[in-house]
Symmetry: C2
Subunit: 716 residues, 2 copies
């Protein structure tokens, strides 16, 4: 049996580092690990910086307002409070609107789409990173009902992208040795690590970060990736731990004294009976309904907002200012509705608290009294959650206060997400869910053995299950946030129920936003109607293919009139005996080859050696976001246009193919499972032109298929 | 553009429930969830029963021996202790050797291979399940250095298989409505859930179970599976929680009073400085070395054992008895080496303890004294781990005791795994690792702020990282076992280091056992040398294909002389104009079709309608383990052998194909990513026979390829 050794993909591929010597592979591996380390380090630092800045800015604002209130200058206090919020919010919106519109919102849907293979440029650009970091700080400090975790995920992904593509050419920050990672897979790996690091930094939940990346962010998963994300989040955890230890010595201004666990609830074993279980099941069902409703309403509001936001930067800023004023009015105005309560006797905590955080806010109350609603509204979101989760404080919040807060937060969360500010959804959902849970706990009161603080945890779980539809990652994140392992079985139960209920109504919130943004996201499974079609049914447009040795003019023409990124290469007589499929060339590689201008007068096959002399593998590497060569950049003389160029050296001779009669469902599974960008469709019967067409991501989108076959029964 | 509607896979497929009406799909979905629920329920019950039985049997044994020792009848005590162990061990070995040899060992490698697509019959059979449950109880009660978690994973998988295939025909336990799941994917899904439930039940770690299934067990992962395993383990958690609550009332004999958390360490925030970090890094490095060494030695010992075990059941039992005696001698004999220590003053715990568990075993010591080494040896493994992890007991164990225990457990763990008893590796590794960590902690003593109990936790993490090479799942399992969230960053750090170090030496222990057992496990990545080969290079054996309408005699002959499970079907003139590939038929489907005996005199294509009349889709469903039809079961007359049968209705017309010149690396990736069993290789140039060969799992194994191309540079 003979062994055909040698090049089976293409010459370029052979030049690539992968096929090189051992020490180069070693270099690559070390570099990749070093990068992952760096991603963890930087994301950890940014996460800590964000936290530190927010605590200090929001703290300053709250202390200032508190002081004015102590002097009974209530209107001035409102102006100071609302004014701070307005300035912070408007600055964030201006940053977003003028510098990086892609930085608005959570960023998780975009990262998810990128990891699914959608190259939406600019979503991971350096300017987005900059705005995301500072916009998020300003937005959270500005008192909006939004969180920092979505933006942190996006920030981590941006950091990973920036490092992975070797810096930014636009800002003249480049490291040549980082050009190693110019292919899709390595990029996706690094960005997955970045996303995991983001969650780890936002929630101080390293394992939760890994699981988030796995469950929500990534579309392809390998066990190697698990190991790599684990490494990244471990680095984040170590960095955060060290910095928090440093701050414990009081060098960080108003930064809190808390440890690595954000809302530590750990305590004795809670006990619960059958009646509690029934209450919890009902809590899960209602939480699922509220979650589904949240997604439904958010979708409507985002559609309205997108019309406003499309009018340009001033409208965006105006919308943000409006929401900022409404939020300030709610936070400052609504607590006036609540009556003052006397401080509990023998409480461990200071009461009333005048500083920035604390369970018992003084607000307008006389000494020895506190305002429960102000403890929730007139606080940072993190502190409000901490108060809701707090145990042994059964009677701290009046039922009416909780109701008012719940309605206000649910609505503010809905109207805040779409504004032009980096905004996470986790915190608003946890906040609303915790209030809901606390309401249930207070209602049940002495009928239940479970503390209202634990009910708040279960309520938060039910809302998270109902909107995000994540399971394991939410479970672990809540565990890492609260250090309450005893509640794990109940949290799992609630998540199960609320996700199941909400799944009856609509999709998860991030999936919904991906669809709304029109990103061509490929689902892991094939739709049932695809079983009734074959691959050739959905091939679109006239086929454009190149000869193995093609006239330059034809290539330039084809590149100009189409936007295709891949072209089949077919050898025809006299180069081969009969028309024969050679493989696939990528637009970007053709452009690089053309720029070399090594053309021939005759249509003959070359040895291809000049390509290897003229170019390095790096020249053909996938460029960073949006900075590849364009056909418009190249000019050719009339004479050159009549010459020939040999495409064989840059042709991938092992493209994946399917026969035209292949079930479309199976072709789609192949496409998705292997993460392809092009799938060649070949004829079944001999004697025809050796290629029928190319399938791309867009050809497999439901909209495209339903457009071609309007009568196709829609799947449910 | 015309739309070719209708059947694109094959007629049978259309008959399958998937393509049927909505209510049938609904039925299937409900059934699948009900099954998953049942798997969780049963595994939870079995896990609890196992635990209960072990606690009572081992407790009885220890109490009996303790009483005899109190009466100073030391030799009788040894006979009682060693005798109990011997009887328990020999019974377990006899069960294994005579009823189900597949039940010996951990079972995790087998489950892993099954989920990779290796159909090793009998590993999930009902007899295996029976022996696994009772053998594990006997083995653990018998004082061996082995755990119950591997066997629980196997048990969960067996339960899932039994339910999924609708009971067992052999034992006349069948439910017809459960025949829905007779395909590979549904089976694998259920068995993955079973494996997750096993870990959840063994460690009472529901989230750890999901992650174990994801990280170690499953080869293909979909987000739907995450959700399903999460559901299963949530059920397990709820079941366990309820049963433990029930036992708290004292109705379960010697069953402990502990809650859902097995080794609860939760406490105040531990603080640590730079010198601790350095100590922990060194601990991780050494732990990695010990872990790698463990794998290396285990491999050697298993090879020796396999020679002994191959001699038949009596040798197996003899080997088990030998190990049982050695273990009893160590557990009973070695504590005599240790001096008695006075009980600590002001300890919260009873000292000395005479009953079954407790930190301070009396053993041979006078009143007011305890024997530290006996607290470790003369206890169940779970209790020994609990003692090692215990905090605030710095001086409980002498350095010499710890050393003796470490060496004994490390060696006993190595020699115990290969005996014919269901045996998990987690517990021995945790035990050895915890002792190692405790030694380090005691050595550092006052130099470190960290309690030796926490060092024991870190030591266990380092050994687990060094042998199992899991990361996230070990991390979460340890977290769920100990409820010590504060140590998470350190545990992650230690895991990182020890895994990295051990990966330099060899593979993870389960992977190693899979290789040693000769199971054809497919790795997720292609080996580098595959880039130098093309698909047609490794196609083995002469190609056997059928005509679309084939003579019965030819089919019977082909089925008799080969063991192939798939055959290409090619239409030839006069059925088609030119030879044309129709698709692929499976051996099992052909056998079912032949058994219908609807043969024709002429070689003509039929409408195929008789197949649909004669058979239901269930008739063609994949049979349960090893109970499919065989060609030897069918007899045909001379006349029938000369007749024809139409294979078109049962041919899969959409098989995955690759061109013969496709890079073997890419073909292997396709094969693995889609979980194929057959991959058709088609010719590149027209005019040849339309199929070159079939690639199966075995053609892609490194051994096969290196056999064909001995000069191929081996990969590293």
């Amino acid at each position: 049996k003979k062994g055909k050794r040698g090049i089976v993909e293409n010459d370029l591929f052979k030049q690539d580092w992968r096929s090189r010597k051992k020490n180069q592979i070693f270099q690559y591996v070390v570099l990749k690990w070093a990068l992952v380390l760096l991603i963890g380090l930087l994301t950890g630092l940014v996460g800590f910086f964000n936290n530190l800045a927010v605590e200090n800015i929001a703290g300053f604002k709250l202390v200032l307002t508190g002081d004015l209130m102590l002097q009974k200058r209530y209107f001035t206090a409102f102006l100071a409070y609302g004014g701070c919020n307005l300035v912070l919010g408007a600055t964030a919106a201006a940053l977003c609107a003028y510098i990086a519109p892609a930085a608005a919102g959570s960023g998780i849907p975009e990262v998810k789409a990128y990891l699914n293979g959608v190259d939406a440029y600019s979503i991971l650009a350096p300017s987005t990173l900059f705005v995301k970091i500072f916009g998020s700080i300003l937005g959270v400090s500005g008192g909006f009902v939004l969180g920092k975790e979505g933006p942190m995920v996006h920030t981590g992904a941006c950091i990973a992208n920036l490092l992975g593509q070797g810096g930014s050419r636009k800002y003249h920050l480049t490291w040549n040795w980082l050009k190693y990672f110019k292919n899709d897979r390595d990029r996706r790996d690094l960005i997955t690590c970045g996303a995991a690091a983001g969650v780890a930094a936002a929630f101080r939940a390293p394992v939760g970060g890994v699981l988030f990346a796995l469950e929500e962010a990534a579309s392809w998963w390998r066990s190697a990736l698990l190991w790599r994300t684990f490494f990244t989040t471990a680095v984040v955890a170590v960095v955060l731990r060290a910095l928090i230890e440093f701050c414990r010595k009081g060098k960080c201004g108003l930064f809190g004294q808390g440890g690595l666990i954000m809302f530590d609830l750990s305590s004795n074993v809670p006990s619960y009976g059958t009646q509690d279980l029934i209450a919890i099941i009902i809590l899960g069902v209602i939480g699922g309904v509220f979650g589904g409703l949240f997604n439904f309403l958010l979708d409507r509001i985002l559609r309205v907002y997108s019309i406003i936001n499309e009018r340009g930067a001033p409208s965006k800023i105006l919308l943000t200012i409006t929401i900022s004023i409404i939020t300030s009015a709610c936070s400052y105005g609504l607590p006036w509705l609540a009556a003052c309560s006397p401080c509990p006797v023998g409480s461990m905590e200071e009461c009333p608290t005048i500083g920035r955080s604390g369970n018992f806010k003084s607000f307008q109350c006389p000494p020895g009294h506190y305002n429960g609603l102000a403890s929730l509204f007139f606080n940072t979101n993190d502190d409000a959650i901490r108060n809701l989760f707090s145990r042994g404080t059964e009677n701290e919040f009046h039922m009416s206060s909780l109701f008012v807060f719940f309605i206000a937060i649910y609505c503010l969360g809905l109207v805040t997400y779409g504004i032009a500010v980096p905004s996470g959804l986790f915190i608003p959902v946890i906040l609303a869910g915790a209030t809901y849970g606390r309401i249930v706990g207070t209602l049940l009161g002495p009928m239940s053995d479970i503390d209202p603080g634990l009910f708040a945890l279960l309520g938060a779980a039910s809302f998270l299950g109902g909107t995000m539809r994540m399971t394991v990652s939410v479970c672990v994140i809540l565990l890492e946030l609260t250090n309450e392992l005893h509640m794990l079985p109940l949290v799992m139960l609630v998540l199960l129920i609320s996700k199941t209920i909400a799944d009856c109504f609509n999709k998860g919130v991030y999936d919904q936003i991906v669809v709304m943004k029109g990103l061509p996201f490929m689902e892991a499974h094939a739709e049932p109607y695809m079983r009734h079609l074959v691959a050739s049914d959905v091939v679109s447009g006239p086929l454009i293919s190149f000869s193995g040795v093609e006239k330059v003019g034809n290539i330039v023409h084809a590149l100009r009139i189409t936007g295709h990124n891949g072209f089949p290469v077919v050898d025809e007589p006299p180069v081969s005996e009969a028309p024969e499929l050679v493989g696939l060339v990528l637009r970007s590689h053709v452009l690089v080859l053309l720029s070399g201008r090594n053309f021939m007068k005759e249509k003959v096959k070359t040895s291809g050696s000049f390509v290897l002399r003229r170019f390095g593998a790096f020249d053909f590497a996938k460029p960073g976001s949006g900075k590849g060569m364009k056909i418009e950049d190249l000019d050719f003389t009339e004479e050159e246009m009549e010459m020939y160029v040999d495409l064989h050296p840059i042709t991938n001779t092992s493209p994946y193919t399917v026969v035209e009669t292949m079930s479309l469902a199976k072709a789609a599974v192949l496409f998705r499972a292997l993460g392809l960008r092009h799938l060649l469709v070949v004829p079944k019967t001999p004697g025809r032109f050796p290629i029928v067409g190319i399938l791309t991501r867009h050809d497999l989108m439901p909209e495209h298929i339903h457009g071609l076959f309007p009568n196709l029964r829609k799947s449910h």
